[in-house]
């Protein structure tokens, strides 16, 4: 198809005249890729290649185009088919067919071509660069390399970083981020006095202590469980319990406490069974991929369900380790990224060949328990499925052999036909540009509330670009150089000045950096569902802080348990202080999850989740005000305050309460409000002995007044927010 290209010239000239910021350099990733994805990819992407044109990568784009006209002529938009077709005055030839691009968008493309039509590889696929930390003006600010990257941007934008958080606040932040438990009053006081002597030394000591805490593995293990879609039941209609699922959950906690290098952590979970002389722990590790749902509903085709699990394993693996949405390529090539349907089925072949099995795991009691794991490699053949339908294997296209993603680094297979072990090594390879970026970004996300890449599960072209690409690259490199140590990355981040900043909002920057992308302050983070429960139990002194073991059954409403299909399952409330285990040990029944978790945005464990939602609803308020576990915590906390012989007056008691619950002393006006409330409550309960007994089990108006008062402190926004 020949174009009367001259016909567009007048239009072009008008455009050039009105184009804003002609001199402004155009960045393909920032300015052009989103336009291509939005307006062109539907017909010229991985799914459809109308006119044989595929715009998902430069190579494909240059190769394509039925018309044979050059798509892009560097410096010459008027000779570039891409530009000409956007502006063609023949409606039948103009692209996109229905609605033309806006003038501003067209001029962006025009300027981009004029500036050389640079189309670099997508940032996430570029090899890691050992970027040297940039110079900064405020040289006394940085504590480490991270601060150079952050401060450099802050200064470039004409901003200033925030002052550091108060020591108590910092310790609370560290304790919640690293262990999910608040500092005790003793820890708080000794940290504050050590801080007086030497802030750096006291900080390092606190970080060492928290990284070594057994609760560190619980805290960071739970993040991993979200990605692994861990649950204690099968899901679907029958949703049968998985009584031994916790064995693998404990493997995760142990591995993270031991700071198992992340490459090994990866290899063991994806292919631990294939390690030479694999021990029971390495076999158990492969239960990562036994967290898939299982449908045992009558009439389910077992093969169909198996295929679903295999597909889920591909999707979860690529999302978790590579930040890619390869599942989109199940039915067709990826619409936006250079990922093909063949890539999907090559990865599929690895998991298709694997069998599901069981292994005996020795436990503390001397007994062994059966754990569901992955095993060996079977003989199943893999074919492309037409439109992803397992009933339509495309046998005419031949058997698909296991292999890596073609646009990434090569997958080595010393033994010929690649095994799951080769896949695991391919993923954890230093050559892999994604794994370290994706993993350090996720760590960052848990420490700052959002990642350097705001779409942590998608590093593809539809995801967000990093706010600090060089920092991400540096961190990823540091991660690998530290021997894939998550603890070292965390230590590096939490000892930075960037992390230590106050989280107070700065109104002067609301127009310049409203979402704090530059990190001119720390972000406040509402803590997760499990941690909210842990906090309440912890300050009440009720928490049973035992690590690991079977999942537990705290009280839930009867009708929630009954909701589970056909009542095939009984929620027998745990006895003794097992009802006060940490929230992460609550038995997770997929079709009837505990409301105290779900109300606070706990994921439903049916799909892999990297970043949880954070909502703020009246149902949450009702839960922490009224629900039995939180109420029991208020009752216990009140006793802890009221019966403490060391506290001799109410002022002291309120001060202690604040330290316990909020890791700080009350301000004068706060003290006034709390003492006022206490007094009102006290006179109320003096007049209402029945209510007093109902509230605290004895006719003790003082204890009742404290109970009604402490519950207000543990319902403060500050109580459930990492400062």
């Amino acid at each position: 198809m020949k174009l009367a290209s001259k016909s567009c010239l007048p239009f072009t000239l008008i455009l050039s005249a009105t184009a804003p910021g002609l001199a402004e350099p155009i960045d393909f990733n920032r300015d052009i890729q989103p336009l291509l994805n939005k307006h062109c990819a539907e017909c010229h992407g991985g799914v459809k290649q109308r006119g044989d044109l595929n715009l998902t990568s430069r190579a494909l784009a240059q190769a394509g185009g039925k018309s044979g006209e050059p798509l892009l002529v560097s410096g010459r938009p008027e000779e570039s088919e891409l530009f000409l077709r956007l502006t063609h005055d023949d409606v039948d030839l103009r692209m996109p067919p229905k609605t033309p691009l806006k003038e501003r968008e067209i001029s962006l493309i025009q300027n981009w071509i004029r500036q050389g039509a640079s189309w670099p590889e997508h940032w996430a696929y570029l090899p890691l660069k050992k970027a040297s930390p940039p110079k900064v003006l405020k040289q006394d600010w940085p504590a480490n390399e991270i601060d150079h990257f952050i401060l450099h941007r802050i200064e470039k934008e004409g901003l200033k970083p925030s002052p550091p958080a108060m020591p108590g606040s910092l310790l609370r932040r560290l304790s919640l981020d690293l262990t999910g438990l608040p500092p005790t009053v003793e820890e708080l006081q000794s940290f504050q006095s050590a801080w007086q002597t030497d802030p750096e030394v006291s900080l390092e000591a606190a970080v060492d202590r928290l990284l070594a805490s057994p609760h560190f593995g619980e805290r960071w293990g739970r993040h991993w469980l979200d990605q692994a879609r861990y649950a204690d039941s099968d899901g679907y209609e029958k949703d049968n319990p998985r009584p031994n699922a916790w064995l693998w959950r404990d493997w995760v906690i142990r591995s993270i406490n031991d700071d198992m290098p992340f490459d090994q952590f990866t290899i063991e979970q994806l292919a631990g069974d294939l390690l030479q002389d694999a021990d029971s722990s390495q076999n158990l590790a492969t239960a990562f991929h036994r967290q898939t749902l299982r449908n045992t509903e009558g009439g389910t085709d077992p093969e169909e369900d198996r295929v679903k699990r295999v597909i889920d394993r591909v999707a979860t693996t690529t999302r978790t380790w590579l930040g890619l949405t390869l599942e989109c390529a199940q039915c067709h090539d990826h619409p936006y990224d250079p990922l093909t349907q063949l890539d999907f089925y090559r990865l599929y072949a690895f998991f298709n060949e694997a069998d599901e099995g069981e292994v005996q795991i020795p436990v503390d009691t001397g007994k062994t328990l059966k754990a569901a794991v992955m095993k060996g490699h079977g003989k199943r053949k893999t074919y492309l499925f037409h439109r992803g339908d397992f009933l339509q294997p495309e046998k005419d296209k031949g058997v698909i052999h296991p292999g890596g993603i073609s646009s990434l680094h090569p997958l080595h297979s010393p033994a010929g036909n690649p095994s799951r072990m080769d896949l695991a090594k391919w993923i954890s390879s230093r050559e892999n540009p994604l794994i370290a970026r994706v993993t350090t970004n996720t760590i960052w996300l848990h420490l700052f509330g959002s990642g350097l890449v705001l779409s942590p599960e998608n590093f593809g072209s539809q995801g967000q670009r990093p706010t600090h690409p060089e920092l991400l690259s540096w961190l990823a490199d540091f991660f690998i150089e530290s021997g894939w140590s998550r603890k070292e990355v965390i230590r590096k981040i939490v000892t930075s000045q960037t992390y230590r900043q106050s989280s107070r909002h700065r109104l002067e920057y609301t127009s310049h950096d409203p979402e704090n992308r530059l990190l001119h302050r720390q972000n406040r983070k509402r803590v997760e569902a499990e941690i909210i429960r842990d906090l309440h139990l912890s300050v009440a002194g009720l928490l049973n802080a035992e690590t690991g073991g079977e999942s537990h059954f705290p009280p839930i409403p009867e009708d929630v348990a009954a909701q589970s299909f056909a009542n095939n399952f009984k929620w027998n409330v745990s006895k003794g202080d097992n009802r006060y285990r940490r929230g992460m040990y609550t038995f997770f029944k997929r079709t009837a999850p505990a409301p105290n978790l779900m109300t606070f945005d706990c994921p439903d464990s049916n799909t892999s989740v990297t970043q949880r939602n954070v909502s703020n609803t009246p149902l949450m308020a009702l839960a922490t005000l009224q629900n039995i576990v939180f109420h029991e915590a208020s009752q216990a906390l009140a006793r802890r305050i009221e019966e403490n012989p060391a506290l001799t007056n109410n002022q002291q008691r309120v001060a202690y309460l604040f330290q316990l619950a909020l890791s700080r002393l009350p301000e004068k006006n706060e003290l006034h409000i709390v003492l006022g409330l206490l007094k009102e409550n006290h006179s109320h309960y003096l007049d209402h002995p029945d209510q007093t007994r109902e509230l605290c089990g004895e006719n003790n108006p003082s204890l009742a007044a404290w109970t009604a008062t402490v519950r207000i402190i543990t319902n403060l926004d500050e109580f459930i927010t990492c400062p």
Binding site: G235, Y236, D239, N295, E297, G298, G299, D301, Y336, D337, L391, S455, G460, Q462, G463, S503, H505, T510, S511, R526, P557, A562, Q563, A566, T591, A592, M598, T599, D601, D604, T607, N613, V614, S615, N616, T617, P618, L619, A621, L622, A623, L625, Q626, N627, I628, E670, I673, L677, N681, H684, Q691, T692, E694, L695, A704, R711, I712, N715, L716, D717
Partner: protein
């Protein structure tokens, strides 16, 4: 860089969106300003016809062939085998193809209303509302197992982690009541296969998840004060809480704190509004009787029975649905789970139809009488249909029930801008598949959103690299304009 005014709008919008049980929604957000996710979602592309929806989800799959889809030919062919070439491509949950035979219906059918809509003798009350109903007999789906099928119907695709219809509607439009959640779920009988996954918010914030209203005196979980906390103590405590949170906000300036203050105030209002909603003492004798609130389950129960008061619970839920609609709650999902009649079809269907018939008819009549039906869309249906073949699973008495059938099933709607007294689509002589005007579940979704003034292609949310929507991204779904007034 954005202006301070825009920043104000944005934080205000975040505040509304995160605390959106009673407020918020993208539509409101859009009115306040634009953002990356919401800006594309210019809502109400069309004049909305419906403002709220009551979805009566008969999970398990009611037998359309014994309720609506009258097939005399099927009765004639009772006991005959089907053409094996048709069966070859089919997949069934339990049925053995080789020996399966067609099974006629034992029900008697009559035409009702001006449009001559067929109903079996099991649905006398609904038959009397024929002139208000818009019935689709040519529904079809892609799933033949319960949980995936239910996800398909409620979330648009047979996958987990997706928002349900009610989540999308409250996300898009918010709620009109400041004291109640925008999306309420009422359950009767035992649980459905899908459990809570049918009304979770998927990748949308949990403020858009369905809130389950319970039976009994605590309609919302944790609504009642702990023992010994009087309303006065609660109020004084909340006053102090507001002041303390206010002090924190003064110093920290995080808008999330304002949002938290609002959430606590809404929680307090809900403590009054929800029991008031559940309190039926102000309803007339006539109304209670029309819905059958005091009905006692017949002795012959079958698997439809979940506990001993399924009929009265269902009736009560229908009445609560009207009270919720009256109060502007956007989406009410009323779930009953036990329509999976693989055997003992006659008895069990009689029980279920008896449970559903009178109160649903009463609900439609009641909404109409109160002038609410025009703006309230009522939907009744399951996740798929049941086979014209009798079920012959080994080890059970053959041909006393029907297997799962995704090819064809019946749903009906009323009010909210759909044509009254109208039936759409026909199946072939034996009810095997649509013979005219097939309606895919996603077409049904597109139509439902259209009734709310929403273009199903434009109510989207970026997740996992794609702009997800209620209708499948891999299928071209269409609004069935013939169904609209």
């Amino acid at each position: 860089m954005i202006s301070p005014e825009e920043f104000y709008l944005r934080t205000r919008r975040d505040f509304l969106a995160t605390s959106a049980s009673g407020l918020g929604g993208v539509a409101l957000a859009h009115m306040l300003g634009s953002d990356a996710n919401a800006a594309e979602n210019a809502l109400t592309h069309f004049a909305p016809r419906a403002k709220r929806c009551i979805f009566l989800f008969m999970a398990g799959a009611p037998s359309q062939l014994d309720l609506f889809d009258y097939k005399p030919k099927l009765n004639e062919l009772d006991g005959k085998k089907m053409d094996p070439s048709i069966l070859e491509k089919m997949r069934f949950a339990f049925l053995k193809k080789e020996s399966a035979t067609l099974m006629g219906s034992k029900r008697t059918f009559h035409k009702h209303g001006q449009a001559g809509m067929w109903f079996s003798d099991l649905l006398p009350h609904l038959a009397s509302c024929a002139d208000d109903l818009c019935m689709i007999k040519s529904m079809h789906t892609t799933q033949f197992n319960h949980h995936p099928g239910q996800l398909m119907m409620q979330c648009g695709e047979p996958h987990f982690g997706l928002p349900s219809i009610g989540s999308w509607l409250t996300y898009g439009l918010g709620s009109e009541n400041e004291n109640l959640p925008g999306y309420v779920v009422l359950l009767a009988g035992r649980g459905s296969s899908g459990g809570a996954t049918l009304y979770q918010s998927g990748f949308l914030p949990s403020s858009f998840a369905g809130v389950r209203f319970r039976n009994g005196d605590e309609p919302v979980l944790n609504l009642r004060n702990p023992k010994g906390i009087s309303p006065g103590v609660q109020r004084r405590g909340l006053d102090a809480l507001r002041k303390l949170n206010g002090i924190a906000h003064e110093s920290i300036r995080d808008p999330e704190i304002e949002s938290r203050i609002a959430a606590y105030e809404l929680a307090f209002r809900m403590q009054t509004a929800a029991p008031e909603l559940a309190d039926l003492s102000g309803e007339s004798e006539k109304t209670l009787e029309a819905y059958g609130v005091d009905r006692v389950d017949p002795a012959t129960g079958g698997r439809g029975k979940g506990g001993s008061r399924t009929w009265s619970t269902f009736s009560r839920n229908c009445l609560l649905a009207r009270r919720l609609a009256e109060r502007g709650v956007r989406f009410v999902n009323l779930i009953h789970a036990s329509w999976d009649q693989h055997s003992n079809l006659d008895k069990e269907l009689e029980f279920n139809a008896g449970m559903s018939d009178q109160p649903v008819a009463a609900l439609i009549a009641d909404l109409k009488e109160r002038g609410l039906l025009d703006e309230t869309l009522v939907v009744w249906g399951g996740e798929f249909g049941r086979t014209p073949l009798g079920e012959n699973r080994p080890g059970r008495k053959p041909n006393t029930g029907r297997d799962h059938h995704p090819n064809a099933f019946t749903m009906f709607m009323a009010g909210g801008g759909v044509k009254p007294g109208f039936h759409y689509g026909e199946t072939d002589d034996i009810g095997w598949e649509p013979a005219s005007n097939p309606v895919h579940v996603n077409d049904f979704h597109a139509t439902l959103l259209h009734l709310f003034g929403i273009d199903h292609l434009k109510l989207t949310h970026r997740h996992g690299g794609a702009d997800k929507r209620l209708t499948s991204l891999t299928r071209e779904s269409k609004v069935i304009h013939d169904l609209l007034t």
